[in-house]
Every structure is written in C-alpha cells, then in structure tokens.
C-alpha cells in the first residue's frame, strides 16, 4: 500500500466513526481526479459533475463495505467509471429516443457540447471518436496517469487486455488527431510527423 492508500484507509475508518473532517479530506483528495475521469469519459461538464456527485454518494453510502483489499482510490475510480458508463448509456438513449422531424430547426445547443468541456478541442473530438473501452483505458492510463495494474483492477480485466486497449486506443487517437488537424495543417507543415 502507498502512503496515499494508507491515508485513505484511515480516513474511511474515521468517516465510518462519524468524523465529518474525514469525509472532507477524502473528497478533497480525490474529487479533481474523479472529475477528470468523468469529464474525459462524458465530455460534458454538467454530466461529469452529476456523475462525480453520484459516484461520491455511492461510495460514501457503501463505505462500510470497503474491505481494503484494494486501494480506496481504485474502488472509487471503479465506481466512477461504472457511473460514467451508465450515464453515457442513459444520455445515448435519451438522445436517440425522440427522433426529430426532418424540418425541425437544428439544435442550437449541439455545437456547444464539446465547447462545454473547455479542453483542447481536437483531443476531445479524437477521444470522442474512440470506442468506449479504448477511451476509458486511455483516459485512465495516459490522461490520469494511473498504473496499468491499477487500471486493470478498476476495469476488472486482465492487465494484458488493458495494454491492448491502451495500445489500440493510442493508435486510433493519433489517426483521429491527424484527420482533425488535416484541414488547417497541410502535411507539408507537419513538423513532428
């Protein structure tokens, strides 16, 4: 266990004894990273905030079940990933259910979806184009910098599967980045290709 993991385990114990300060410390220690994961997975700030909220509610309500077999953060991020998957699925269904009439005016908010993420647009669009299992692996491993073993525990898949997803995810990401940059950056101007 790392220092952070030991600290978290102690904080969970204190929280279960009713110490509000432990709740605050756990939130402060992890909220930005959970938000980062959710924002990259959902690509919408409001949706990410909802998912972060739902994640922490779930984790604190089930804190008594935390057995300490893995790090608290691993458990937390696993809940976050699952919450984001569920949120994405709900969002997808919500978007696909009401088919708009052909002569309906275009959705004025559609163009704001990616802008609301407030991140590097080309990267976000490229991440958006990845299959979700690749995107999740790349986000956890490369964006959040988690160890492959930790990602393996979070996703509940063998480490070899994680490696494969990260590898393929990076290749797809590079392909999409190339496509996205093409219109404004002709090949002759590419310096790092």
């Amino acid at each position: 266990m790392t220092d952070r993991a030991d600290q978290d385990a102690a904080l969970v114990e204190r929280y279960l004894r009713g110490e509000v300060a432990a709740f605050d410390e756990l939130m402060l220690a992890h909220q930005d990273r959970v938000f980062g994961i959710c924002l990259r997975m959902l690509r919408d700030r409001e949706a990410a905030l909802d998912a972060v909220q739902e994640t922490f509610i779930t984790v604190f309500r089930k804190a008594s079940q935390f057995a300490g077999r893995s790090a608290f953060s691993t458990w937390l991020y696993r809940v976050a990933v699952n919450t984001c998957h569920d949120a994405a699925r709900r969002g997808l269904r919500r978007r696909t259910e009401p088919l708009p009439e052909a002569n309906d005016p275009p959705d004025a908010t559609a163009g704001d979806l990616l802008a609301s993420v407030e991140l590097r647009p080309d990267l976000e669009r490229a991440l958006d184009a990845l299959p979700s299992e690749f995107r999740t692996a790349v986000v956890l491993s490369d964006v959040e910098g988690l160890a492959l073993q930790t990602v393996s525990e979070i996703l509940g898949v063998p480490i070899g599967t994680v490696k494969s997803r990260v590898f393929r995810g990076r290749k797809l990401l590079a392909e999409h980045l190339g496509n996205l940059r093409a219109p404004s950056n002709p090949p002759t101007e590419e310096r790092h290709a």
Binding site: Q31, L39, Q53, E54, R61, S64, Q65, R93, K163
Partner: protein, 272 residues
Amino acid sequence: MHSHDLDLIAALAEGRLEADAAATAEAAVADCLRCAADLAAHRTALEAIATSPPVALTEQEVSTLRTAVAEAIGIATAPAPTSPPPRRVPWGAIALAGASLAAIVAVVPVLGLLSTTGGDDAGTDIVAATMEEPESEPRLNVVEGSPGGDLDATPQPAEAADEEAAAAAPITTTMPATTIAAEEVLAGRDLMTLWEAPEELQATLQDQSTIERDAQACADAALEVLGPDMRVIAGPLIHAETPVVAYVADVEGTARLVAFDPDDCSLVLVLP
C-alpha cells in the same frame, strides 16, 4: 526489431527506457516500418494528451458538490453554498436503480422452480446473500420518482423514502415461498424459455447488446460462487439503468442464478 514488440514500443513512446536501451530500441524501430508507424502514433497521442491542460473543479463546483453529497448521505453539518442552490441530487436515477434491483429479485425466484427437484416447498430454501449494507444504503432508502425515472424528480423526505422503500422492496434474506399454482404455470418450460419469455424480465435485462461494461464483469466472482464446473447459460446480464450483474449457469445439471453489485462484485443474490 525482428518482432513487433508492443511493450517496447509503448515503453519507448512513454520515455520509460534508459538512454542506452532507448537508443537501441530507436534503431530497431527504424528497421521496422510497422513499428515506426506505431511509435509515431503513440507519440502523437501522448504529446496531445501531455499538452492538454489539466482539469479541475471550480471553487463553486467544489462547494456545491460537497453540499449535495453531504446532504445525500446525511451529514448534517454541511455548510451552505455560497451562491446558487445545491445541484440537484438525481434521486430519480438512484430510486430507479433500487426499484430495478427489487424487480430483478422479485422476478428471478421463478427461475429457482426450474432448477429444483420439485415439491411444495421448492424454492423455500432459496437464500439471498446480504451485503452487510448500512441502514442508509441507497437502494433501500429511496423512492421512485416518475415512472420513467425522471432525473429531475424532487428529493423525497428521508422518512417517506424509508417507508415507501420498506413497503416496495421485497429484498429479504429469504425469498418468498413458491406456490403450487406457479409450478403448474411453469411446468414443462425450461430455463431458457422462461428467461426469454416474461416481458418484465426481458425488458429488465435484455439489452445486453448495448452494455458497454466489460463482458467479463464479475465473472471471477461468479466462478467463485458457482464453482469451476459451472457452464454459463446467460450472462453477464446487466440492467441498462441499475448496477446488477447476473449470471445463470448450469452447475452439474442444476440451473443456478447469481447476481452481483458491479461496483465491487459483492454477492447480492444466489438462487437456489
């Protein structure tokens, strides 16, 4: 590089190799077109990620989040937010999850009929594993919002939620006793027929094709519960809204069902 060594390419792209090893690897990659293309792709992706600004919550978002979570889990000393009112807590979604789990638990007992040897008390020995949940565990402490699980449902008072949940959730440690009538209705139907037949069950669990969660979710836990001789008939069956992962398996000729909480693969239910 004679073989397409993915680990080496990744290590090189991530800068994890010592200088000498990196130089050797670079030279090897240069002799392999496919390796060079992969290395370039890795570096492009990693460079884009590295130059992306970090994300962080604003102070207002931190305050709002803290308040909403504290209220939801019953911490009374949560400070008041500094500006807008707290973000809504998605009670509807949480309630829907609880209701769906209850629906699954209510429906699956009939499966036990098909795997038992018969008799009036078939199914009475079905035991649902408890999760050692605290009293404030969300599944039992919420009420359903609108029938469609309206995310904007107004939060319910905790007392009302407790009463309604207690009335609506038949989640107990022992499944209800089966009836002779039920056995007659189900007579002659095999497990897969039953699994595909009831509309409620179908609606609850059928859309596995849209499930993004890993296809092996809680597979190890299922193996641990059912033993190495199990043969999965259906699963993992994951509800579209609520986190319940279920497996139906043939264990030495007997159909059994196990359900897990995918957050930590803790056992929720085992039949029979």
